[in-house]
């Protein structure tokens, strides 16, 4: 019985094929005599577009039986006309990669039903396809309004616009949604695609008026200012006129470098310049509100690299309220010593700073590590640790001044050793 009905249906539908419905090829019908009729529409697409069943080995989890439900009507099926399918049917077909037609969804209500159905099945492809259709067939304002009430569809739409590079529309949408910060960041992100520094600078300038959060607004402002100045510095330094550029040729351009790197560069090549110039460390420090700690660390690194021990010294000089010069450091002196050592500072220089280390353990550790003999000896003397002095003496050259110093101490009867 089934075969006969099948043939009958096919013969009816063959007529419909003659209508100018180019998407429908053949329709087969198989049914089940179980109370209500359930049927399937199976379509074989011959070439160009779809066709997901044949070529590759996979388990076909899409069944030949589709959902039983009120959305189906026998008449629409026999018409074989894609234009008469309900939202549910259309969405099913879209899911299965079969031909579909969305034009029949003319009224706003129909379109929204279609969208809601697409969202319900949660297939990203289908949701996107429907959104593309809505984008073409609805005014911007209406689409935005409807999307705002449909979170999932909205997210997909944002993703779609991002993928298609529709910046302008995306920005408008975000604005309409009140997601102004997102909009600002998204716009700002585009600067990464601009290679030419002048154009990038101009672009950043255009970002300044965007509705960033207060923090981000400051950062974007800094970014623009920095790049603007880097361009000026680069233009001048590229000519490499000054002596220092010949002695220490630049390895890279300063453009687009982070601020700390720029500061280091400035401390290296432009140290001591007046605050009036863009390239001076003091100008950079002030303009970009660099913390004392960061400034000293960076300047230290640069001046130590150049072995300008005098400059290093000046970094730590402060005048206390009585007018006396004192050495102060926002970073521990043990770290200063490490950095100096990395730059091959001579022992006398290292010794000076080891002496400034507050913490006695760190101080002793530093002295031992960097062979600041006097400090070691003095420390053990102050600790009245005779044993350690003896041990340390063995590390020294006989007859060296330090060796003799230890001898003297050990022979000093007035010292009350603890061991």
């Amino acid at each position: 019985v089934l075969k006969e009905s099948k043939r009958a249906v096919n013969s009816i539908l063959v007529d419909d094929d003659d209508e100018d419905e180019e998407d429908v090829e053949r329709v087969s019908w198989s049914g089940e005599p179980v109370g209500s009729i359930s049927w399937s529409v199976k379509e074989t697409a011959s070439s160009i577009r779809s066709g997901s069943e044949q070529s590759f080995p996979k388990i076909d989890t899409t069944p030949s039986l589709s959902k039983q439900g009120s959305g189906y009507s026998l008449s629409s099926l026999f018409k074989g006309n894609l234009h008469d399918l309900s939202p549910e049917e259309t969405v099913r077909r879209m899911q299965k990669g079969r031909a579909f037609s969305l034009e029949k969804f003319r009224s706003l209500q129909d379109k929204l039903l279609l969208l809601d159905e697409a969202v319900a099945v949660y297939d990203g492809n289908v949701i996107t396809a429907v959104l593309i259709f809505l984008k073409k067939s609805l005014s911007k304002e209406i689409l935005f309004r409807e999307l705002m009430a449909r979170d999932v569809a909205l997210r997909h739409y944002v993703h779609y616009l991002k993928e298609m590079g529709e910046q302008k529309l995306l920005v408008e949408l975000l604005k309409a949604l009140g997601r102004t910060e997102d909009m600002a960041l998204m716009h700002y992100k585009e600067h990464l695609n601009i290679k030419d520094e002048s154009r990038r600078r101009d672009f950043l300038k255009s970002c300044l008026s965007l509705p960033f959060s207060q923090d981000d607004a400051t950062h974007v402002q800094d970014h623009y200012t920095l790049l603007e100045r880097q361009i000026i510095i680069e233009a001048s330094d590229k000519k490499a006129v000054a002596e220092i550029f010949k002695k220490f040729p630049r390895k890279a351009s300063i453009l687009n470098m982070p601020i700390i790197t720029t500061l280091y560069y400035s401390c290296f090549y432009h140290y001591g310049e007046s605050e009036g110039t863009f390239s001076s460390p003091s100008n950079i420090r002030k303009t970009f509100r660099i913390s004392e700690k960061q400034y000293i660390l960076t300047a230290l690194g640069a001046r130590a690299k150049l072995k300008s021990w005098f400059d290093v010294d000046s970094l730590f000089n402060t005048k206390n309220w009585l007018g006396y010069t004192k050495k102060r450091s926002p970073i521990g002196f043990h770290r200063v010593v490490d950095i100096l050592h990395k730059n091959s500072a001579p022992v006398q220089v290292l010794q000076e700073y080891v002496n400034l280390i507050d913490n006695p353990d760190l101080k002793l550790g530093g002295a031992l590590k960097y062979k600041c003999h006097d400090i070691v000896i003095n420390t053990y003397r102050d600790l009245k640790d005779r044993q350690q002095l003896i041990v340390y003496r063995e590390k020294l050259e006989r007859d060296s001044p330090e060796y003799r110093k230890i001898q003297e101490l050990l022979n000093n009867v007035q010292i009350r050793w603890k061991n």
């Binding site: 996979k58 388990i59 589709s66 099945v121 990203g124």
Partner: protein, 558 residues
């Protein structure tokens, strides 16, 4: 997934949805540098500066060929749309899809290898990959039977379960007549446990991934240690190509050591060396022809074992160089301090120093995120300080990344809600002081003390069940739920005494090798009664994970 179709000097280059931008660039260069007048570039190659490349199509009008598109894993309407807009959609003879949802990486491991899944789900609120996960699970059920019990924790887990149930309803007519293999499915959102991927993994395989990166079951290693030492050859040139090795359980030695804590690997390798030596020594005992023949027949196996041992000894040496470094020790110490709640409310001097030394940005981000997660958000002052230091040292453009990290909850200001992490840690025993690295008795060995939260939840689910930790579950994000699916009568699994339950754990957003090791440990525990199969949207480590949240990572290379 990158799909490139062609070879040099032919006229059509098609690259779709490229994630390996370098490969795309190579093809673009090839195409644009050809001086064939028939080659026409239709899409601006400058678009490759973005992370997700678009496509480039060059069609030679004079010599038309048959070109097909294969979408992997699924057709993308967006892609077709783009092709349509460029007017080239009709140039293709056939458009098809090769459905590749869950890829088996090993006997107990499946991955979708969807790099952007975490970002899409938790940052962009685009849950398309979850749809694919659901589809993958339906395929799995078609092959291995309906899974009778589904547990889940998290928003995404809820979505996937809903989709599965819906898909099942739609296929109501066709019931699979297969005896169910899986007893339970556990769906876990990655954001239920944001801490674990941030920590440095300490298993052998985990460290290989952290240091060298395992891609598609392969690792590329610096070649020096793998140079063949041929006798009599002095001063041989060292190979410059990285050594590529395949890593999976088919290699006997690797299967033995991959999930061990790295500190236990040395002993295992020694033991193996002795066994292999002894086996080779057997040749002295082979007297009769029969015995010699037997020995010779074993040779290939023994040689393979020896070469495997040599490789892993070299790898272990490479890893040891790093794990014995002062920096590694300091970094690990800070991680463990954060995990045990020490000083999470102030600026860490170690992190400060690392920034000052311009350590790789991702290292910094992992640490500050860890501090934030363990503190349920950082004090505003601390957060502002870190942000300023990072932006000044690495560049202002990173405000984008910092925003992303805040959105997914990795690096955020402290809210008024109290920090539940200490409670969670205590209740679930996440920190085990005396973790035994050599002969572990608890999953915490994979991080030498820290038990991955995700695996602990899995462990408790199996025994004694989630009812015992209701309060803690409520502290973790997202709903938790249980669903049951009808299994046709007669197909109910009658479990024999002593037979294990099989639980499929699906990580939505990524899983680390350490977590996999921990789950395998649970499977192998005596009288655990459970066997775990692991599935995930992606195999991740802290670095690849954070990278996926950065905008324009190529620019961010330190």
């Amino acid at each position: 997934i990158c799909f490139a179709l062609l070879c040099h000097r032919t006229k059509l280059i098609l690259i779709l949805e490229c994630q390996a931008t370098k490969t795309c660039r190579k093809y673009v260069d090839l195409a644009t540098n050809t001086d064939n007048a028939n080659v026409k570039v239709l899409i601006d190659p400058k678009q490759f500066s973005r992370n997700e490349a678009n496509g480039i199509i060059i069609i030679d009008k004079l010599q038309p060929r048959d070109f097909h598109i294969l979408f992997v894993p699924r057709r993308s309407l967006l892609c077709e749309q783009r092709l349509k807009e460029k007017g080239v959609l009709n140039s293709f003879t056939n458009i098809d899809e090769y459905i590749l949802d869950l890829i088996p990486y090993d006997g107990d491991l499946l991955s979708m290898e969807s790099e952007s899944s975490f970002r899409e789900c938790y940052l962009e609120n685009d849950q398309t990959s979850l749809y694919h996960a659901a589809k993958g699970l339906m395929t799995l059920q078609a092959l291995y039977g309906t899974i009778p019990q589904i547990f889940g924790k998290g928003e995404c887990a809820r979505h996937v379960a809903n989709m599965m149930l819906r898909m099942k309803r739609e296929f109501a007519g066709s019931q699979t007549q297969i005896l169910p293999v899986f007893d339970t499915l556990l769906l876990l959102d990655r954001n239920v446990d944001l801490l674990t991927p941030l920590a440095t993994q300490l298993t052998y395989e985990g460290l290989i991934d952290e240091i060298f990166g395992i891609t598609n079951g392969y690792v590329k290693l610096p070649p020096e240690k793998f140079a063949q030492k041929k006798q009599g050859e002095g001063g041989k040139e060292l190979p410059t190509e990285p050594k590529k090795l395949q890593l999976n359980s088919a290699e006997e030695l690797y299967a033995e050591i991959r999930d061990k804590n790295f500190n236990a690997v040395g002993a295992a390798l020694s033991k193996k060396a002795k066994i292999i030596s002894a086996a080779f020594e057997e040749r002295h005992n082979a007297k009769t022809v029969g015995e010699i023949k037997q020995f010779v027949s074993q040779l290939p196996h023994m040689q393979a074992a020896r070469s495997s041992l040599a490789n892993h000894t070299s790898i272990a040496e490479l890893i040891k160089d790093i794990t014995t470094s002062e920096d590694f020790f300091d970094s690990l110490t800070v991680e463990q301090e954060f995990m045990t709640g020490v000083d999470t409310d102030k600026v860490s001097t170690y992190i400060e120093d690392c920034i000052a030394q311009k350590d790789p940005l991702i290292k910094i981000l992992r640490l500050v995120c860890m501090q934030s997660v363990c503190n349920n958000g950082l004090k505003q002052k601390v957060l502002d300080y870190y942000k300023k230091e990072i932006l000044q040292t690495y560049g202002y453009k990173h405000i984008l990344t910092l925003k992303n990290l805040e959105r997914v909850g990795l690096l955020k200001p402290q809210s008024t809600m109290r920090n539940n992490y200490p409670t969670i840690r205590k209740t679930l025993k996440l920190w085990m002081e005396d973790a035994n690295e050599q002969n572990p008795n608890d999953i915490s060995y994979v991080y030498s003390g820290y038990a991955p939260l995700s695996v602990r939840l899995t462990q408790v689910l199996a025994r004694p069940g989630w009812r015992s930790i209701e309060e803690v579950l409520k502290m973790l994000p997202g709903p938790h739920f249980e669903e049951r699916q009808q299994v046709p009568t007669g197909l109910h699994k009658k479990r024999q005494p002593g037979e294990n339950r099989t639980i499929l754990v699906f990580f939505l957003g990524g899983v680390t090798y350490a977590e996999i090791a921990a789950l395998r440990f649970l499977s192998n525990m005596e009288d655990s009664g459970t066997e775990y199969i692991i599935a995930a949207t992606k195999l991740i480590n802290g670095t690849s994970w954070i990278k996926s949240l950065m905008d324009s990572p190529e620019e961010n290379l330190p």
